[in-house]
């Protein structure tokens, strides 16, 4: 589904990614962790080209992503993305947040789009909030709306960029529960997160990054119990302390 070969990326002179290779199969759940500034977010933002890589190759569903990509929008339609700061559209109601993509990009009729939106609001357990504005919802509810917004495009892949980092502790679980449920539907997911309990539960593959490089890739069992690299061990010790 996703094939990354020797990806490199610079912000000015700072090397954000160097020689990153990773492949993700359809239906696979990948959790990326690592200290802040290690390039995790940059990596997943390259996948839907919110960032532009400077070297290497990147394929999504067989289409190469790069300067020559004719229709990046067609690729983005198939990739849902959930942001740390939710990024809901504050001037639109919850329902309109969910329908703007299907109506404007997929050219669905408003009625069909609304039916679909209500279905996914049900899926994230907040059908009753459809007519509110994002500012009237709690952080956890906003993030669930953001997940539903992405799902409304019925993407093949979902990217999560630290979806729970901006949430109050008591709201983290409601979002993680939705993500676990989503994982059980067979969605291909790439999550950048520090929630190791979630990672243990759903991940098929753990990736540890530091300073723009992938240090370790392993199944969760092996990753948590016998990390090979010392740096990964140190990171896990810090994260799992509590």
């Amino acid at each position: 589904m996703i094939e990354i070969r020797g990806l490199g990326m610079y912000f000015g002179k700072f090397q954000a990614l160097s020689n990153v290779s990773l492949s993700v199969e359809a239906g696979e759940k990948v959790v990326i962790c690592g200290p802040s500034g290690s390039g995790k977010s940059t990596l997943i933002r390259c996948i839907n080209r919110l960032e532009e890589h400077s070297s290497g190759q990147l394929f999504v569903d067989g289409v190469e992503i790069g300067e020559e990509t004719r229709n990046i929008r067609n690729v983005r339609m198939e990739i849902g993305m959930v942001f740390q700061q939710f990024n809901l559209f504050p001037h639109l109601t919850v329902l309109d947040n969910l329908t703007v993509g299907p109506v404007r990009v997929r050219k669905m009729s408003r009625r069909d789009a609304e039916r679909r939106a209500r279905k996914y609001l049900q899926r994230v357990h907040i059908p009753e909030q459809a007519d509110k504005y994002p500012s009237q919802l709690s952080g956890g509810q906003q993030q669930r709306v953001a997940i539903a917004r992405s799902l409304c495009m019925e993407p093949k892949i979902m990217l999560f960029d630290e979806p729970t980092s901006a949430l109050d502790p008591e709201m983290i679980n409601e979002v993680l529960d939705v993500m676990v449920e989503l994982a059980s539907t067979g969605m291909t997911m790439i999550c950048v997160t520090h929630e190791m309990g979630f990672a243990r539960k759903v991940a098929d593959k753990m990736v540890f990054m530091e300073e723009g490089e992938i240090i370790e890739t392993a199944p969760p069992e092996e990753f948590f119990n016998h990390p090979r690299s010392k740096r990964c061990q140190m990171f896990l010790d810090k994260v799992l302390e509590h």
């Binding site: 339609m77 942001f83 559209f89 917004r149 495009m153």
Partner: protein, 285 residues
């Protein structure tokens, strides 16, 4: 309940009284009546100074003649006076040039924000050129240089001049407002798959409106005021009419006061209308 010493009671009540007096003074100063009184007093003083000045130069007040230039009562009913005709032209001029200025301004702002190097260079070049010319020189340029080439009339040249001059200021307002929308909105819109025009149309511009309205009103008021400059090429708007009347009647004080009052009323109405609009948009956000 513990008994309070009598002297203490006296002390407390006297302190109470001064606090009371302080509050009363503040209430009085804050009151609507007081501000109206102050306003009347200040305006009265200004008028008084003007009157004494006029008296000193032996000015002959003829206010009774002014009303004819606004609405004239004749045998066949009311006749629209010259000043009112001028106001109509001013309004016409203002609306046309403002609409054009907003349209040009939006295009320049989008060019400036575009990732095309040539787009932003053209926009910046245009902005710097227009912004650094005096309005009067721009008017002469358009009327005497561009005008004959394209066969532009006085009115068209004036509309064009005001629109061009204000479009760069409007463009800056648009650019700042669009940039005030958080970057995350762009990213979310693009991640959903919206094209760049769709991002602007459905996500960025609707959110910019609340940043645009207040400075854009200021710009509209500014435009109404700068429209007076077209009197130098004799477009029959309010200021020109005022000048013509004065050259016929020598009533400079009365006519200029009246013209000023008409401009003031026009801009005030506009400001009130926009305050109402702003409140409406505030509810949405």
């Amino acid at each position: 309940m513990p008994k309070t010493h009598p002297s203490l009671i006296k002390f407390q009540s006297s302190q109470h009284r001064t606090a009371d007096a302080g509050r009363w003074v503040r209430l009085m100063l804050d009151s609507r009546l007081m501000s109206i009184l102050l306003y009347v007093l200040i305006m009265g003083l200004i008028i008084r100074v003007l009157m004494t000045g006029a008296q000193a130069i032996g000015y002959n007040w003829q206010w009774y003649r002014v009303s004819d230039y606004i609405l004239e009562m004749t045998d066949d009913g009311f006749q629209v006076g010259e000043l009112l005709l001028g106001l109509v032209t001013t309004i016409d001029l203002t609306f046309r040039s403002f609409a054009l200025a907003v349209a040009i301004g939006l295009v320049i702002a989008l060019l400036q924000l575009s990732s095309l190097m040539i787009g932003s260079r053209i926009a910046i070049g245009f902005i710097e050129f227009v912004r650094n010319l005096p309005l009067l020189v721009l008017l002469y340029l358009i009327y005497y240089v561009v005008g004959p080439i394209f066969d532009l009339g006085r009115f068209t040249a004036s509309v064009l001049c005001l629109a061009v001059y204000h479009s760069v200021l409007v463009a800056e307002i648009f650019r700042a407002a669009i940039q005030a929308v958080p970057l995350g909105q762009w990213e979310a819109a693009r991640a959903v798959g919206l094209s760049t025009p769709q991002c602007y149309r459905y996500i960025l511009i609707p959110q910019s409106v609340k940043f645009i309205l207040p400075p854009l009103t200021g710009e509209a008021v500014h435009l109404i005021k700068s429209s007076a400059i077209v009197s130098v090429i004799a477009v029959a708007e309010l200021t020109t009419m005022g000048r013509n009347i004065i050259s016929d009647t020598y009533m400079s004080f009365e006519i200029w006061f009246t013209v000023a009052a008409i401009y003031l009323i026009f801009t005030l109405i506009l400001s009130i209308f926009v305050t109402f609009l702003e409140k409406k948009f505030e509810v949405i956000n």
